[in-house]
């Protein structure tokens, strides 16, 4: 029940884009049409769902202060937490490489439409951000980490798809002042959606 609650919270209230603004670079660049946006959203969701539990296990059994105590009692006062950034990013970068190979093999169309953004998932702030939030929040178990990761991913997917849909329409039908065209108006759309998403604050299941 708690995990389901956390999943829903991560999608709507702690939404990566509308509440924390993580992963904005690829969000702005790829949200020009819905299909590509959806593909990238799926890739990000997948990455978050696998990297978060892996990083959670590393954090709990290797990095946290005293985490190595299961090896032998002598290690009880070893604190490796200063290494966590490097470890997390290494996990994420290698998982990205893996996902890239899988997508290239089984979905070549998606691979070519994502282009440069697939390797850049490694530097998508949403994914490292997920792991860093995990480190701050003391999740109880691996399942909690899976649920939070999945929820953040789905939230990101939802956000990028919604904004891409709005942008498609705007590009066709609206007459926007020249200086705001493209990037400027996307910022404003995202801000308005962010304000709308605040109405989810306080929802509990």
């Amino acid at each position: 029940m708690d995990n389901l609650n956390l999943f829903i919270r991560s999608i709507f209230i702690d939404n990566m884009i509308f509440a924390y603004f993580l992963g904005m670079c690829s969000f702005i660049a790829v949200s020009k049409n819905v299909k590509t946006a959806f593909g990238l959203g799926i890739a990000v969701t997948f990455m978050l769902t696998i990297t978060l539990p892996i990083n959670y296990l590393l954090e709990t059994y290797v990095l946290r202060s005293g985490a190595l105590a299961w090896l032998s009692p002598e290690f009880a006062d070893v604190d490796l937490s200063f290494l966590s950034l490097i470890v997390f990013i290494a996990v994420i970068a290698s998982m990205t490489q893996l996902v890239e190979m899988v997508v290239e093999k089984y979905a070549p169309a998606l691979y070519s439409s994502l282009g440069i953004f697939l390797p850049l998932i490694a530097v998508n702030c949403a994914i490292l951000g997920g792991s860093l939030f995990m480190q701050q929040r003391d999740f109880g178990s691996v399942w909690t980490a899976v649920c939070a990761g999945g929820g953040w991913g789905v939230g990101w997917l939802l956000a990028i798809t919604a904004v891409a849909a709005v942008r498609e329409r705007i590009a066709q039908y609206s007459n926007i002042p020249g200086p705001l065209r493209g990037v400027g108006i996307t910022f404003i759309i995202t801000a308005l959606m962010g304000i709308a998403f605040m109405s989810f604050l306080g929802i509990k299941i």
Partner: protein, 204 residues
């Protein structure tokens, strides 16, 4: 390109935030107050300059296939140093910045500059490019932080600047400016003004 244009272009014409659209995440997240915005800018300038130099020094020995991982490791090493320094000497600010110091690693400005500049240029121009882009980033961060703190809390760097008589006359701080979405609108306004003066940057 001359060293001078490498250094000065990122200030306005090729600004990393509002023209190249890189590193937006942190611009939005750390600008509620001016002080964390300044600390964040300084950290980014330092990391950007040194990572550019290091990557530029070893650029001929990096195999192309794994260059992203190599770049990430260099950047991550520098960010760890910065975050440990901040925790040691500016603990309060580092608590306010929370995960965003760690997120400098995935700040797109770093990867963008390393890929686009440092991998193909000598160390000295790369250093200038790093500092220039860092300052370009800092300019936007400080502008956004200035307006959000002034309008949102009526203070600057923690000191009250809106006089008490304003409040007595019925002036109220705009609570909306503290919420994250207003950072986006502020950046959008900066883009609007900037592109009105630089018509060649406008999109069709």
């Amino acid at each position: 390109m001359s060293n001078k244009s490498v250094f000065f272009n990122p200030f306005s014409k090729n600004n990393p935030v509002i023209v190249q659209i890189l590193g937006i995440c942190s611009v939005l997240a750390v600008t509620v107050k001016l002080e964390p915005a300044i600390v964040m800018s300084l950290s980014v300038i330092a990391v950007l300059a040194f990572s550019n130099v290091i990557i530029s020094l070893i650029r001929n020995t990096i195999p192309t296939n794994i260059r992203i991982i190599v770049q990430l490791v260099v950047v991550a090493g520098l960010v760890v140093i910065v975050s440990q320094l901040l925790e040691a000497y500016a603990y309060d600010v580092s608590k306010q910045l929370s995960v965003f110091i760690g997120l400098i690693i995935t700040n797109c400005i770093l990867m963008g500059r390393l890929e686009a500049f440092a991998m193909a240029n000598k160390p000295w121009p790369s250093f200038l490019d790093g500092v220039g882009n860092g300052i370009g980033y800092a300019i936007i961060l400080v502008i956004v932080g200035f307006f959000r703190e002034l309008l949102g809390s009526g203070t600057l760097l923690g000191y009250q600047v809106v006089p008490d008589c304003f409040y007595e006359a019925g002036y109220v701080n705009n609570g909306l400016m503290i919420l994250p979405p207003m950072a986006l609108v502020t950046v959008a306004c900066i883009i609007w003004v900037h592109r009105s003066f630089n018509r060649d940057l406008q999109e069709k």
